[in-house]
């Protein structure tokens, strides 16, 4: 199906009606109406459709109880619904089995789990972990903690001026000392989508497992962990229109099986005695304590929601927004877009000459436009492009061309303000 046909079928105004918060205005005061909210910060966290909110409310009102224990009716009902979402997530990623899906608190915790469990067990002094320059701090700091403990070595794949990952450099960095590769599937600053399949294939030629941070990638396109041949793949619920407090770790079962627990507690044990405790098989082994049950139900509803809209249709809509917004922003004098890789996701980071991003953020906010300013938890990348902090507009399935126009208009106001 062509983009044009998909876009015709995609009724963004109807989609917007599913998101109650998008109807509000901001900065209203004393009889003065506010400005309509223009939410361009979905890369930080996406808004939630009514379907997600209602699924969580309904669950709490009708079916809530703790899971995996208790023989009573509600516990069984809640457990069934909870585990059905695990199956749904497995299908969403095209994982071979729902045994490969571990619920965590966030992408961050999922990466920390792999670093602490797999990393501590299988990496030793002098072993190398390959990251990329465009990692979020969540995929840098866990490895640095491991470095401090085990004296491993961290290698960093650079990118070019457009923000394209330097695959030649990656090939050169791969060696007999490489024991793990951990790379983003889509940069939260540049929007660059990395060639995950090629990254994994090259690592596998040396028997090295690969972790992908899919926090942005799962939102903007279809991900097939078997096609990529990812060993670990993580994402977070709240960027995918689901609730906060919930992340997902996909792991190949053979790897998960070899890994010791990350945290200890209830729900992850077979039996406990002071002489010795035995642990359950994955994924339970990695889910100590009561999980975020209601949030898992919410994620299930979020997945249903994006699948009903169609992930290809969403991607086509977002691609159109990206093209349009890039074109409009490029016409502003003194505006420099950071990250121009072909096939990138709908994320536009930029600097405006002569105006600090913090000042840009404050002024456009008065026009109702919500953007992120700062270094976006990716300080090494800001250094790489020598831009310091930037402004980031990130688009989601509910954004419109008119909202891109509103951003451009508010930036014109910034320029007038500062005479830039």
């Amino acid at each position: 199906m062509s983009d044009a046909i998909l876009n015709q079928a995609y009724d963004v105004q109807r989609v917007r009606e599913d998101f109650p918060i998008l109807a509000r205005s901001v900065h209203a005061r004393k009889g003065k109406p506010g400005k309509p909210l223009v939410y361009l910060d979905s890369g930080a966290s996406a808004q939630k459709p009514r379907q997600v909110i209602q699924a969580m409310t309904r669950f709490l009102e009708e079916d809530y109880s703790n899971i995996h224990r208790g023989v009573h009716f509600l516990s069984q009902t809640a457990t069934d619904q909870f585990e059905a979402v695990r199956t749904k997530v497995a299908r969403f990623l095209n994982a071979p089995s729902d045994r490969c899906i571990v619920f965590t608190r966030s992408s961050t915790e999922a990466i920390n789990l792999v670093a602490a469990s797999y990393g501590r067990t299988f990496l030793n002094e002098g072993d190398e972990v390959i990251l990329s320059i465009m990692e979020h701090h969540a995929n840098i700091v866990p490895w640095q903690l491991l470095q401090a403990e085990k004296n491993i070595v961290i290698k960093v794949v650079p990118c070019d001026e457009d923000g394209v990952l330097d695959m030649d450099a990656y090939k050169d960095l791969l060696s007999d000392r490489t024991k793990l590769v951990a790379i983003t599937h889509c940069s939260n600053v540049l929007g660059t989508v990395t060639p995950a399949k090629a990254i994994a294939r090259l690592a596998h030629e040396r028997g090295v497992p690969v972790l992908f941070d899919g926090s942005q990638a799962v939102v903007h396109g279809t991900v097939d962990v078997q096609d990529i041949d990812a060993d670990f793949y993580v994402f977070t619920s709240h960027k995918l229109y689901g609730p906060t407090g919930l992340g997902v770790l996909y792991g190949k079962y053979d790897l998960l099986k070899k890994m010791p627990p990350y945290q200890g507690g209830g729900d992850m044990i077979e039996s406990v005695s002071f002489e010795g405790t035995t642990f359950k098989a994955p994924p339970s082994r990695f889910e100590a304590g009561t999980p975020p049950i209601t949030e898992v139900i919410g994620l299930g509803a979020a997945i249903d929601y994006v699948e009903a809209l169609g992930r290809d249709a969403i991607a086509a809509h977002e691609h159109d927004l990206l093209q349009y917004a890039t074109q409009q922003l490029s016409q502003i004098d003194g505006l420099r877009i950071v990250g121009t890789a072909p096939g990138k996701g709908p994320i536009i980071s930029f600097a405006l000459e002569g105006v600090h991003p913090h000042d840009v953020g404050t002024i456009v906010d008065q026009y109702g436009v919500a953007v992120r300013v700062g270094r976006h938890c990716a300080e090494p990348l800001a250094e790489r492009f020598d831009v310091g902090p930037t402004v980031r507009a990130s688009f989601g399935l509910y954004n419109t061309r008119e909202e891109a126009d509103a951003l451009v208009q508010s930036l014109q106001a910034v320029k007038e303000f500062f005479g830039a």
């Binding site: 913090h358 270094r375 500062f418």
Partner: protein, 155 residues
């Protein structure tokens, strides 16, 4: 709402932001402290030349937004020539102005100085920007006390 913006970005602030005063590193500085806002990456060094308990010279270097740069620039103009005790008093007065709806201003700050301090107080309407306005002041206060750094994490 645009009135609030004009209140925050007054001409004098835009001017100090674009053409900061005392943007240098004095040779004879005997105190210095770094002010850093990890959230946005703003970073200033504030240099003091203390002689016989008096701020003989004060200057700064670094990079930040219009608010933090203007505030640093205006701080240097206000603090120079003051005793260490007076400089600290100004820090507290400014901090009150930026953060409190009913600021508790220490006694002994003259009207002209208050007027200049008030210029930045529009920031109170923009809570996330208060740390920008007070960053260099915190660094100055840290330098007065012989400390090496002030981080907005602790403000």
């Amino acid at each position: 709402m645009m009135d609030d913006l004009r209140e925050l970005y007054q001409e004098v602030i835009l001017d100090h932001g674009k053409n900061p005063r005392n943007f240098r590193h004095p040779d004879d500085a005997n105190r210095e402290a770094k002010g850093e806002n990890p959230m946005c990456g703003d970073r200033f060094m504030v240099y003091l030349t203390l002689k016989d308990g008096v701020v003989d010279d004060v200057a700064f270097q670094g990079r930040g937004c219009a608010i933090s740069t203007a505030s640093a620039s205006m701080m240097t103009e206000l603090v120079r020539g003051k005793s260490a005790a007076e400089a600290e008093k100004l820090f507290h007065a400014f901090h009150e102005l930026c953060t409190q709806d009913e600021p508790d201003i220490p006694e002994g700050v003259d009207d002209e100085t208050m007027e200049k301090l008030m210029v930045m107080s529009g920031v109170r309407q923009f809570p996330v920007r208060v740390k920008c306005a007070t960053l260099a002041w915190h660094a100055m206060n840290a330098a007065l006390h012989g400390e090496a750094a002030a981080s907005s994490d602790q403000f």
